[in-house]
Symmetry: C2
Subunit: 149 residues, 2 copies
């Protein structure tokens, strides 16, 4: 995709990435047999982690438990923050009060009020941000878990 | 995610899925080593296929060529159409005039004006549509390549 906006420098993109309000994200995962999966979920932020809540029996939960890896997209398609992440922790939603409180405060629902939900704490390993084609070069803000800017 | 909208019946969801204007989609794919990938791209529709154009050397192109499978999301996170698709065809963007014309007419750029782009023609196998949690039951509109409604 191409556009006419002036490209932002890395520091501006990092500030934008961190300022993006907690909202919905797309979570891509892979099944043990190699099938792609993708769902929209609400996300919360805690300690530079992305926290999601999904049903323990869902495809996403099974994939994340099996493979430990996700690629997460925040933002609309022409102002994206892409996060390659690893699963740092997975717990039943009523097993960690701090996680539960943070998630319920940021998301617009409380998975502790439903049964069978699990928190996955996703730790970013690589973060990229771009708007349209002119921002594709230099889109990487974090590599191997370290901010580049 | 939960919401208060009344759930739509299957026929209404199918009509909505087919009426969604060509726009941007999220394409999830899997690398030969099992890593999840996810990118936003412009899409065109042709003969009930989703057509995307990506650089031939991109991760998405390499994944789709290797695995033949994608999961595609249209629409915002709370009014989604999810498509599990197989790669029906992959050609250089200047190799198929009908594809090129259809894509350029629907998308807001013409990949034939750049070098190294490839069209992937994605054939839906399963289509699901939902807005929020109350629409999760009965969300499947197509299964095994056949519309259920």
């Amino acid at each position: 995709m191409t556009g006419s906006q002036e490209e932002r420098n890395l520091a501006t993109r990092k500030a934008g990435a961190l300022a993006t309000p907690a909202a919905d994200v797309w979570v891509a995962s892979v099944s043990p047999t190699g099938a792609p999966h993708l769902v929209p979920v609400s996300v919360a932020r805690l300690d530079e982690r992305a926290v999601i809540a999904v049903e323990g029996r869902s495809v996403t939960a099974r994939n994340l438990s099996a493979t430990g890896a996700a690629r997460v997209a925040l933002g609309p398609t022409r102002d994206v923050v892409m996060i390659d992440a690893v699963v740092e922790n997975a717990v039943n939603v009523d097993a960690d009060a701090r996680l539960g409180a943070a998630y319920a405060a940021q998301a617009d629902w409380d998975p502790r009020l439903s049964s069978g939900y699990v928190f996955f704490v996703l730790r970013p390993v690589r973060v990229q941000a771009w708007r349209e084609a002119e921002e594709i070069p230099g889109r990487t803000l974090m590599r191997d878990g370290t901010w580049l800017v």
